[in-house]
């Protein structure tokens, strides 16, 4: 029954789209006032999508297996929480979530822009409706979450156990808020172009939307990484996997766009570039959906393969890009009357440099992600592009990037000089000395590391100084940049100082090395709601004589029948201890993997700090100087 309601309200929702378009066009031509009918229909559409979404959740909760999606992804013994999160843990449901966020955002947009130009609001709504209709048709035609199965099966197939996890339950909604937020930026940029309103006022207004999507995208990526860290049992948090890259690319584009909009807010330069970035950001979000959903990518996260869907998204994506380019070339007339020239040493230049590097990072990731597909298609040769490629191309460029990030915000708009800025230089020396000391002391002979750590420290010191000297001035920017320096430093030290032991142990055996003693005390068996678990108990004594007990688990899920390895992590301010155990076939010993991972918590904290900076900026009344 909930499925039936959900299914029909999807159709009604689509119907609303046509009504909205009809009234919008009528209103656009005839009146000077915004027709309140349009807003009502938008809210009605949102209501229908919400009903449809709750219909799906309800089907999951009551385990209605006559619904194909529920049958494929749920099971009666699954805990309630994962029944609910299972609703968007699959292809069909996640698209419905996309649609929900799309309609939600456009409603908020309409409610929030009462003071803006009528034509601008209507045009943004129209462009957004084009996207919404595309998604409606996509869902109804190729991935309807409410398909019937007759006769009704008694039991479902269950949800992949690695997806039965709290972090992964909220990861997709948060990430989608970021992805879909970029659709508003896209529609709004098209509307502003058509009306030739790409101005300071527009920049000020769209900056909020950019920030909202940016914060959600940052948090979404963070949650995904945390999940990968503890659930996949390998102790890493980023593997440059195509699906991870696909979420990082819109993030980079958004970050670049945000910095650009800061310039546009001050004076009308870089207008075309801002427009191009707005379009790029949304295109990359859509590409993300396409690459993941079409099954082209070979990845852990891919859980739907269907060429028909891929073709649909591809056609849809190209029509949107075509629409954007059409407007860009035929409607948009940037007035290049007054180009305010600025001196080479100025904040504008610093932002240009930021854009330059960001675009480079983006191109590395983009090319690294799609080149293997491209090569496979034209020459059917398969190559892998993995972490070494990205590290080699990105790390050296991070050095000047970090330096620019420290110095840039210190410069004035239009023209600036470096008098009274002696500390900029002295801090550089301090950072260099400090990192050389660390490197020499710990005997790591790697030149790039030294320089990279120095530049990380440099940014760290400069931003820390600002907290004391400038207090609340430019606080948001300073927090984010500080977070980034902390992030780079934690990742670096984590990389350099991580250590790992892999060994086979039987119950009662002890492993000894000069750093650590691992004693395998016992195993116990327990029963969870939809799995059985084998819990190992390990006593660990590290080199500082600190004793700790780690209890990694092996879970055997009933449906689908999959064994997962649950890591046990002891989190500490300075380092994490991470342990997993695995069955070895036909053997009475377990494969034990023990990792010492310094600064893990600092990586998570620093990313939170980065997005917190965004949050401050969002709620600040006065804009940055």
């Amino acid at each position: 029954m909930p499925s039936l309601i959900g299914s029909y309200s999807l159709l009604f929702g689509l119907g609303c789209s046509f009504l909205i378009i009809f009234f919008s066009i009528k209103n656009f031509k005839n009146s000077n006032l915004f027709d309140s009918k349009i807003l009502s229909f938008s809210l009605l559409q949102l209501l229908f999508v919400v009903i449809s979404f709750f219909g799906l959740i309800l089907s999951f909760v009551i385990s209605d297996f006559s619904n194909e999606t529920v049958f494929n992804h749920s099971h009666t013994t699954k805990p309630l929480f994962y029944k609910i999160s299972g609703a968007w843990g699959n292809h069909e449901g996640s698209l419905l979530l996309w649609l929900l966020v799309l309609t939600l955002f456009i409603s908020i947009f309409l409610l929030n822009t009462k003071n803006q130009l009528k034509d601008y609001r209507i045009l943004t709504l129209l462009f957004q409706q084009v996207i919404i209709i595309g998604f409606f048709i996509f869902i109804i035609k190729t991935s309807n979450p409410f398909n019937y199965i007759y006769p009704e099966p008694k039991e479902g197939l269950g949800l992949n156990p690695i997806l039965q996890d709290p972090a992964l339950a909220i990861h997709p909604p948060i990430l989608y808020l970021g992805y879909v937020g970029s659709s508003i930026i896209f529609s709004s940029a098209l509307a502003a172009m058509t009306l030739n309103w790409v101005s300071k006022e527009w920049a000020k207004h769209i900056k909020k939307w950019i920030l909202v999507s940016w914060i959600f995208l940052t948090l979404g990526i963070l949650l995904g990484s945390i999940w990968a860290y503890y659930e996949l049992g390998w102790g890493g948090f980023w593997f440059w996997d195509p699906v991870e890259n696909v979420s990082l690319m819109p993030w980079i584009a958004l970050t670049t766009l945000f910095h650009c909009v800061l310039v546009l807010e001050k004076k009308p330069i870089l207008t075309s570039w801002v427009i191009i970035l707005s379009i790029t950001t949304f295109t990359l979000s859509m590409c993300g959906t396409f690459l993941v959903r079409s099954g082209i990518l070979n990845s852990v996260h891919t859980f739907a393969n269907d060429p028909e869907r891929g073709v649909f998204i591809l056609i849809f994506l190209f029509s949107l890009i075509f629409l954007a380019l059409f407007i860009f070339f035929f409607f948009y007339k940037p007035d290049n009357v007054k180009i305010n020239s600025f001196f080479w040493l100025s904040k504008e230049t610093a932002i240009l440099v930021n854009n330059w590097f960001m675009m480079y990072f983006l191109s590395v990731i983009l090319i690294g992600t799609i080149y293997p597909i491209f090569l496979d298609v034209i020459s059917s040769e398969k190559i892998s592009v993995g972490p070494p490629f990205y590290h080699k191309l990105i790390i050296p460029f991070l050095i000047p990037f970090l330096l620019a990030m420290a110095i840039g915000p210190k410069l004035n708009w239009i023209k600036s000089d470096l008098r009274n800025k002696f500390y900029l230089f002295s801090f550089l020396i301090i950072s260099l000395i400090l990192s050389s000391l660390i490197i020499i002391n710990l005997k790591i002979d790697f030149l790039v590391n030294t320089i990279l750590i120095s530049s990380g420290f440099y940014l760290f010191f400069i931003t820390t100084r600002d907290f004391f000297v400038h207090k609340f001035q430019n606080l948001a920017q300073n927090i984010s940049h500080f977070g980034f320096s902390l992030f780079i430093l934690s990742v670096l030290f984590n990389n350099i100082f991580s250590s790992e032991i892999i060994t086979n142990l039987k119950v009662g055996e002890t492993f000894k090395s000069k750093d650590v003693i691992i004693f395998f005390e016992k195993v116990t068996k327990k029963k969870g709601q939809n799995y059985e678990t084998i819990i190992g108990k390990f006593n660990i004594v590290d080199s500082e004589n600190i004793k700790q007990t780690l209890i990694p688990e092996l879970r055997i899920y009933n449906q689908p029948n999959i064994v997962t390895s649950e890591a046990d992590i002891k989190i500490n301010l300075l380092s994490d201890k991470f342990m997993t155990m695995n069955l070895v076939q036909n053997q009475n010993y377990f494969n034990i993997r023990y990792q010492h991972k310094p600064f893990m918590i600092w990586i998570w904290a620093s990313v939170s700090i980065i997005s917190f900076g965004g949050l401050i900026s969002l709620f600040k009344k006065k804009h940055e100087v």
Partner: protein, 124 residues
């Protein structure tokens, strides 16, 4: 400034405490297997995987190290056996010129655009 000095000292002390266990030879097998794709898994390296394929490959790599093969020789050996697909590091060869050089080219073009931007501004 005083605060910063304190923080400096603090951070430095923190680092002195980290016990490091970086014996290069021991980590060679980790380093190599991290650069190999587990062919039966989805998006995992041989090092991170516990599949039978990964485990047998770890043994093979260890054997080759014991035989005295260098890192690159082991990669070459595996490349002949399993194809380029197994290596996460696509070396620079005629198949990957575009992959490696296009981003750098774009970077240079970006720089050129910025410089040009200033020249135009100067004239006006």
């Amino acid at each position: 400034m005083k605060n910063i000095k304190l923080i400096l000292v603090f951070i430095f002390l923190c680092f002195l405490n980290i016990n490091q266990s970086l014996a290069n030879e021991k980590n060679l097998i980790f380093k190599i297997t991290k650069n190999l794709r587990c062919l039966v898994c989805q998006g995992q390296s041989v090092h991170d995987s516990d599949s039978e394929f990964a485990n047998s490959l770890k043994i093979v790599v260890q054997k080759k190290i014991d035989e005295g093969m260098s890192e690159n020789e082991i990669y070459e050996f595996l490349k002949i056996k399993f194809g380029d697909w197994i290596l996460y590091d696509p070396g620079l060869n005629k198949k990957t010129y575009i992959l490696w050089l296009l981003p750098i080219l774009l970077f240079l073009i970006g720089g050129a655009i910025i410089i040009k931007f200033f020249k135009i501004n100067k004239i006006k």
